[in-house]
Amino acid sequence: MDRRLSALVRAAAIAAGVLCGAAPVVEAAQSAASSVSANGVTLRSVNVDLPDAGRMFEGPGADAVNNNCLACHSAGMILTQPHMPRAAWQAEVEKMRKTYKAPVDEKDIPAIVDYLAGLPR
């Protein structure tokens, strides 16, 4: 239990003329629920926002990539790859489908591979 929180609750309880028992301390600690503290270490709950990853591909054939690839990962995964021949991109798309269960529409595969293999070097 957070010692400072505990002390605050006790002070409040005394000010309110309530007996300083264990019950109100626990209740207050549970409702606060923002930190855990013991043996000199305090851990505080975290609530963060991750940045938007809404970068989309454009140009002929881009729809197939945008619709099938970007649900699981951002465009950066593709744009940082070294130049790869068509067969290597084909293998990557198959790996995404079969191993990682990406919901890639089978009829879109040729268009996806064409687009990826045609990215400028």
Binding site: V41, L43, L50, A53, H73, P120
Partner: protein
């Protein structure tokens, strides 16, 4: 202009000028306020510096979702402990909780145990506390430097970091649950989830003996502070000397198994050729594989970058960091003649066998022209960095001797 530089620039300029991708909605200004060139052979080699990620400072943006953020190399020159806000980040699946209520969080220990446990963070904070320094390095650190290039996260050398980890021994937690006699492995899972329900949940396992070796720990502090969410808050598995793939983040489930783990992330992914330095010839087939495990020694220059210009005739301070892998650093040596002759560098304080070690030396009076410097580390088990780079199709375990070429003028 070299072909490498030309291809990197033209690619980026082309992409932007031709509108190959649009920014929808406009990315935060902090997403692309500077560029860094990682020197990856054949490119693309440029990456944005980002400050857009929570609890993180300047990071090299490899992928925004699921986040892959690389430590800018200059951070390693400032000390042997990598700051939490610049420690590298790598997630497999985008399903990362962005909110963790530390008072409600529970770690479950179940399976082949006498007592199933549900431990709160308060329970863990009340247990005996241990602390150690250890390097956390991605299996694919430096993958972008492989030649021929291989697909995957295209890291430079910054998918690594060293921290002082504080927490509890995994052994103590397992003993509290009581591991049954027939148990063979412990499997670890975090709060992150696959993007698709049927995809393989990220899980890693350790043999029971390793899990109970007294060094493997569950950390709730990193360099004396709670872990950044992206580094695994509130609890992370620490496996000193082993690659980061085992260091499960947001650890909330330990399952003790009665049979070897055949989950995808052990049986199929993160496998290496069972050969010296996990090396094979490109295209070579039929090589037996084993799960990746221990790291090898590495050393890096931190105050000099490849291609830099230094002053002729003036003493040139040279310094860097090294680590032994799964044991301490024995020596770091420097060469000024491409590896023909070597001399010992001075080693800084020993902060623990599994951590970074500072090394330093001096080139007395560099002569005008080109100066090639190399650094190599040998660990206390006698293993030294190889002179030739290893190669495997997954881009794992690079630890070749590093060199910098300097212009002396």
């Amino acid at each position: 202009m070299t072909r490498r530089a030309a291809s990197g620039l033209s690619r980026r300029r082309f992409l932007e000028a031709a509108g190959v991708f649009a920014l929808l909605p406009p990315a935060s200004p902090a997403m692309a306020d500077a560029l860094v060139n990682l020197g990856l052979p054949g490119g693309p080699s440029e990456r944005s510096i980002t400050t857009a990620f929570p609890e993180k400072g300047r990071m090299i943006l490899q992928r925004s979702r699921a986040p892959m953020l690389e430590t800018p190399f200059e951070a390693f020159d400032r000390g042997v402990f990598t700051p939490n806000d610049q420690f590298f980040v790598r997630w497999h699946w985008a399903g990362i909780p962005t909110e963790v209520d530390v008072a409600a969080f529970k770690l479950t220990v179940r399976g082949e145990v006498n007592r199933t446990l549900s431990l709160s963070m308060a329970d863990l904070l009340a247990m005996p506390r241990v602390e150690l320094a250890a390097v956390n390095q991605c299996s694919g650190n430096s993958r972008g430097l492989f030649e021929p290039r291989v697909p995957g996260g295209q890291w430079g050398n910054g998918a690594m970091g060293n921290a002082r980890w504080t927490g509890v021994r995994l052994r103590d937690v397992l003993d509290r649950a009581g591991v049954k006699a027939g148990a063979v492995a412990a499997r670890f899972k975090g709060l992150d989830e696959p993007s698709v329900d049927t995809a393989p949940t990220f899980m890693k396992s350790l043999d029971v003996d390793r899990a109970r070796n007294g060094e493997v720990m569950l950390a709730y502090l990193m360099n004396g502070e709670q872990l950044p969410l992206l580094n695994g808050f509130p609890l992370r598995l620490i496996v000193p000397g082993w690659y980061a793939t085992y260091w499960v983040k947001m650890l909330n489930d330990i399952e003790v198994l009665s049979a070897p783990d055949d989950n995808y992330w052990m049986k199929t992914a993160y496998r290496i050729p069972d050969t010296p330095h996990a090396s094979v010839k490109p295209g070579e087939k039929g090589v037996a594989t084993v799960p990746i495990s221990v790291m090898g020694p590495r050393s890096f220059f931190t105050n000099l970058t490849d291609g830099a210009t230094v002053k002729a005739g003036a003493p040139l301070p040279v310094r860097g960091i090294a680590f032994g892998g799964d044991c301490g650093v024995a020596t770091v040596e420097l060469s000024e003649d491409g590896g023909g002759t070597w001399r010992a560098a001075a080693l800084g304080p020993d902060e623990g066998a599994y951590g970074f070690r500072r090394w330093s030396g001096e080139v007395a009076a560099p002569r005008p022209g080109t100066l090639a410097l190399s650094a190599r580390c040998a660990n206390v088990k006698g293993e030294a960095q190889p002179a030739e780079p290893n190669w495997n199709p997954a881009g794992f375990m690079r630890n070749v001797i590093e060199s910098v070429r300097l212009n002396v003028a």
